[in-house]
Every structure is written in structure tokens, then in C-alpha cells.
Symmetry: none
DNA sequence: AATGAATGAGCCTTCATTCAT
DNA sequence: GATGAATGAAGGCTCATTCAT
């Protein structure tokens, strides 16, 4: 693809204090992005929804992409914070694993539009934003693994390749949620939460202690 | 301005016909879509890659979207055919469940660009294409469930809400593949195929026959 | 392909507001339309003539057709206003009928390009514009007929099928003007104004009062 | 308007003998032109309607414009021939003048689509076609005037500026027909034929012979 | 901070015409 | 004579972004 990326220098937005205006723009953008996707949303769509001028929008966010980035990063951070809080409030391996599934499910249902937006894979974020997201993920996943490491060490959870844990625990609920968000499944994820939580635990729980010895 | 389309004469799009040209355009489009996404691919990108004229492109596909649709539908059908073939070649519940996971993994690795494209959620297909896809999925999933129904009836597999099977069986491998496709995970899905296959079987297998009786 | 427009967000066109820019665009468009016709005028032609950007043009008028519509409607309204003013300044049937012919002639000569444009029949106006034009015509023709009705009632003018008046009064001058506008006739309509005015009156004047009685 | 006219050299069509194919193409073109106008008709529209290939169409007519020209010229010639025949079959000034109006009316009603097409002013004919049309008109109008000259000489018809005759005689009926063709008037021209014929005669008839002498 | 007119690169698509078969 | 795939110039329009007020 020979097309030159025409990203103009660095146009970072003035990080003003959180005005009501800023919030209303983000809210408006979320509505638009959810309805027709980032690419199909025009800056005008956002203004119209936020009832503000183009100028104002650029004053606060610098670019259309700037809005998308802020919305995305805020969303991710909020999700991560929630998840870690829930995790820290859990006790023991089983409860923790199941808490992950439950939280994923609950948060998605409570924040459906945002969750839907966070699933988009078609936004071409700036290098800066990508780096930021990577860092945020790194910190988050590190904390998560730190939480689970003792359980694995103790044998409460299986020893698996590092990349296998997330798919085994969250894969089923995520798959379900994805289909629910896109309208393929009717039944709210909540009703299957327990089932997927059990399955998650079942997939990663440690083998019964004396099992091998007795065989 | 809400202008009414005042076209009075009938102007419908041209139809199919397998030319080498058609194939090369689809190939080119796949390359572009995979690299930068549907929205960021221009018709010119496709031409350039396919070494054909705009006119030719429109002669065969009617629109940029038309190309995307054909590519998508072809891909889905190829995947489905492969999966069903594998399924019919399996024997027994365990082998069948594991075959699903294995095929998903193998096909993805063998058809990485196409698999990647089939994961896009940002294309606004025409009503017609959406209907077509829905029908294709319906037929496919019907056959799959018909295959597994006897196993469930016989007790080889658990009785679960219908919507739970796919997430439980394919969720983990899909989640892994998705991350691998987007470059977050390095290790090829192949190396974890067995692990996810086992997990899938473990998640849906029936309870041991006489278990309850003996207790 | 018969694609359904899947735009979900509301995107309506901008509205009016009298800027100098607007006027200059209309002026430019008139020049172009008159020279090569609506279909053969490109948006670029208009920009070039108006010395403005494409964007500006679309900002103010929404589409090429939008410009044509505004120009047309403005022209018609200006003509109608002028005609009604002249009519109201006339006294008696004969003076009124002749005033119509004279005004038609004078206005055309004074506003040659606009008159020429108003004769085009090849523009495919939007449903809205057509409705607007219909309404404008209805109001205009109603007033005109209201003005003449008393003369007919009084016997100063003949009783004729409603649709016959306009052709009888304006037909000849219009036919002449049409040919003059398209360059077939050299002699300015002004020089034949009196002749056509007399003919118009002759065609619709009432029969001599006592004529029948004496016979 | 700085646009260069890109008329390529001389691409005249092979004047084959009148095939059925040629006729069906002209018929198809007429339908299209009448429905959406010349500019809005595509070559494909014509093929589709004529059920022939693009190649065939170009084989016979050389270009889209070629079709329009042939259709137009044929139409004009047919009209002129008919008019002259009617004229020659008339006797006396009054009968001749009224025959003109009647024929105009009848022919239009009988050949509505063609008449409608002949009213279009938006086709940019080739220089050659324009010259041809001019010559055809010259011959026609010459014959017409030759027919009427004796009547004027004899005093049966008024002496008027040459350009005034056509508008006075045909103006009203043409104006009516034009509005009828574009759907503004419902009532068929036929029903007003007599009225317009009388008006035409009234507008150009000579003054009563002894009138002045007696005064 | 806010406004909205102005900008123009670039997009998707159309369509008359050509030409090898 | 017929066919229809191929061509590519050109067109109307969109939309992120700028900037004077």
C-alpha cells in the first residue's frame, strides 16, 4: 500500500480541566461511534449530537482522533480499575477467577455502549495513543498476574503457558458478549454468568492434591 | 437536501462470471483490507494492487462494498465447508469437539489474511449481503448442531443452553487467535492447539456415566 | 446493487443566510448555466467563476442542484413580483392585457441571461423544489386571474376556457422571445412589443357591446 | 468557461441500410430521452431498452450523440413533410393558416414522445448536425413563406415583419402544447384546436377590403 | 472559549468509447 | 455484424481541519 500516512506533526490538545463541554462531547462521540463506527462518524455528527461548534470541538480535543483516543483510554482505564478492585476484594483462587468472569459480564451489561466501542478494532490510533494503551495494558496485566501467581505457586491453579490463562478464563464469556453486543444473541450475558464462571474455574483449577499419588 | 432519487430508468448492477480478473481483484482487495482495513482502503489501492482499471473493477463488482461482500461471503463459505468436512470425518463426541478447535486453529494459520479479514466488524454491508450471511450462518450452524445433538442425547456431552456451546468450545481458541492475529501474541496458535482442544472437551463433556449411581 | 442507505445519524443540509458569497456563487452559476447549460456546467466551472472553494460552495448550497434551484426560484419570484406590480399599476382590461405582453418583453430584454435560464427544461429539480415552484406558480396565477376576472365578468374580455388565456395573450411574445434568446431572431423583442400587445388584446377582448343586438 | 471541447475528429457512422436494429435503437433512445432527457440517458440505458450490445450500437451510430442527431433530424423532417403536405392540400389563406395550427396540434398528439423530444434544447449537437438542421429549416421555412406570399400580396393576410408571422400563428398553440407536454395542462390540445386556429387567423387576416375606403 | 465560514485534497463512482474475439 | 470486457478521464461530493472574528 503506497499511501503516505499524512499524519501531521504533533497536534496534542490543550489538556484543560474537565469542563462539562468535554464530557458532553465524549458522550456524543460515544453515541455516534457506537451507532455507525468511528470511520463513518463525521466531526459534524459529533458536534450536532453535542450541540457545540466545530471550533469548540477542536479547541478541546485537537482532532477527531483525539476524541476517539480519549474515549478509548478512559474506557479502558475505568474497566481496568473496576476489575482490579473486584479482584482485590476476592479471596482465594476460585473466587478470584470467577470474579473476573462476573465482572467482565456485569461491566459490559452496565456499560453496553462503551463496551461495544472498546471492541472496535478499526481505529488507527496515533503512535502516542498506542504506546499509552500498551503501557496501560502492561501495568494492568502485570497486576493481574501478580494477583494470581501465588495461587499457581500453591497449586490451586494449573501451571500453563502465560498466554493461555486469559483465553481460558475470559474466552467463553468474551465470545458470548461479543455476539450479544452485535445482536446475534438475545439472552443477556448475566443469565449465563454463573455457567461461564464455573467453566473458567474448571479450566484453570489445579489438579486434586493427592490425585496422582493415589492412582 | 434529502433529494429524491429521480432515476426512472432501470439500472441494476452487472452479475457474476468467474474471470481471472475477478479473482485477482479479490486477492488484491484482501491484501489491502488486511493491511489498512476496509474504510482506509481506497478503490485506487485495489486497482493498483490488481493492476486493472477502475472501470474494470466496477464492471465486475459494482462497488467497493461489492468487492468486500464477495470476499467476505466466499471466505465464510470456504471456512464453513472445511469445518463441516472435518466434522463429518470425526467419530465420537470427544473427537468432534476437538476437531472443531483444531480446525479453527489450523484454518486460521493457513489462511491468516483471510481469517483476519473475516474478523473485521466495521464493514457496513448491504441489506442483501447481510441477509445472505445470515442465511449462510443459519444453514451452517444447523448442520453443526445436528451433528452434535446425538452426543448430547446419549449423554456424551452436557446439556447446556444452546448459546453456550460455541463460546465454551471455541471461545478460548478464538480469543487466542484474535490476539495473535492482531500481533499481541507471538506464539503461533498451533502450539496451544492441543491445550485448547482439551479444555474445550473438558468444558462440554458429559458427566462420568455411573458417577452419581455409585455415590 | 440497490443498496440501502444505512446512514443512521441525521445529516441534513445547511440552511440559508444572505452572504456576499452566496450572491457571487449564484451570479457565477447563472453565467455558466447560460453558456453551456446545467448538465454541461461542472461544479468546478462555478467555483472558478465565483472564485471560491468547492467546500464553500457546498457549505452554502448543499449541491450543484441546490444552486440551480435557488437561482431558478429566485428568478421566478422576481419575475412574478414585477409582473404583478405592473398589473396592479394598470387600469382597465386593455391596458392590463397589453401590460402583460410589454412586461414580459421588457423583463426578458433587461434580464436576458436569467430569462434564458428560466426557459431551461432540462434540470431535474428535487421533489421539494418542484413542490415549491408549483406553489409559487399557483399563488401567482391565482392573483393574475383574480385581477382579470372582473374584466371578463363585465364583458370587456371574452369568456374562454381557463387554460386558453395565457397561450393567447403570451404565446406569441413568448414564442418570439424564445427564438430571440436562442439566437434565431436578430431583432430585439422590443421592436415588436406593440404589435404583439395589440394582437394579445385583439385575441381576448370582448365582442363589441351591442354587436349581436343590431344583427 | 474555459473547458476545452474534446470533440474527437470526425467519427461518422457507417450509413448502413435501414436495418431493423437501427430502428429499434432509435425507438429505444426516444423512450429514454423522453423519460429522463438526453444528458441523463446513458448509452447503457439505450442498449438495455433496445436489447442490443454496446458494440452494435456504436457500429450503427458511431456515438450517443449520433443517435440523438439522427432521431432529431428524422423527426424534424417528418414533421416538416407532414406540414407541407397539409399546406398544399389547403385552399385559400384562412384554410392554410388554420391548417398550420391544426396540423401542429394533431401531429403533436399523435407523436407525443417525439414531439416532446423535439422540444429539448439541451443537446449539444455536432457542428455538422447543426448545419444540417439549419439547412432543413431554411428549406422548410422558404417553402412555407412561398405558400403564403401570394395571400399577403393579395391582401388576404396582413403585411407584417417577417419574424412576426410564426409567433402570431403558432405561438398560442405551441405555448399550450408545451405546457401540455410537460404535464401542466390536462386537457388535450385537440379540444382547443379550433379556438387557437380561429385566433391565428384573426391575428393575421387582412383588413376587410373596402374598410378604409368607406371610412 | 466559542463560532462557523472557508479550504482543498481526495474519495467513490459514472459513462462514453474502444477493440479483440 | 455482434459482443461485452476493458479503459480512464472527469465528475459531484465529503469531511477533517484552520482561522479570523
Amino acid at each position: 500500500m503506497g499511501r503516505t500516512v499524512t499524519r501531521k506533526l504533533d497536534r496534542s490538545a490543550p489538556r484543560a480541566g474537565t469542563t462539562a463541554r468535554r464530557a458532553s462531547v465524549l458522550q456524543a462521540a460515544l453515541v455516534c461511534f457506537t451507532e455507525v463506527g468511528f470511520e463513518n462518524t463525521t466531526v459534524q455528527d459529533i458536534q450536532r449530537e453535542a450541540r457545540c461548534s466545530v471550533g469548540s470541538l477542536y479547541h478541546h480535543f485537537g482532532s477527531k482522533e483525539g476524541i476517539a483516543e480519549e474515549l478509548f483510554i478512559d474506557g479502558i482505564e475505568r474497566f481496568n480499575r473496576g476489575m482490579l478492585r473486584k479482584l482485590r476484594a476476592s479471596s482465594g483462587a476460585e473466587d478470584s477467577v470467577k470474579a473476573v468472569v462476573r465482572f467482565y459480564c456485569d461491566w459490559t451489561v452496565r456499560n453496553r455502549p462503551l463496551a461495544s466501542y472498546l471492541h472496535s478494532r478499526d481505529i488507527d490510533f496515533s503512535e502516542a495513543a498506542r504506546a499509552r494503551l500498551k503501557e496501560i495494558y502492561r501495568e494492568y496485566i502485570t497486576e493481574v498476574f501478580e494477583w494470581f501467581t501465588p495461587f499457581v505457586a500453591r497449586g490451586d491453579m494449573r501451571v500453563l503457558p502465560r498466554e493461555a490463562y486469559v483465553p481460558l478464563i475470559s474466552g467463553p464469556i468474551q465470545e458470548y458478549v461479543r455476539r450479544w453486543l452485535s445482536g446475534h444473541y438475545e439472552r443477556s450475558p448475566g443469565s449465563l454468568k454463573g455457567l461461564f464462571a464455573d467453566a473458567a474455574w474448571n479450566a484453570v483449577k489445579g489438579l486434586p492434591r493427592g490425585a496422582g499419588a493415589q492412582g
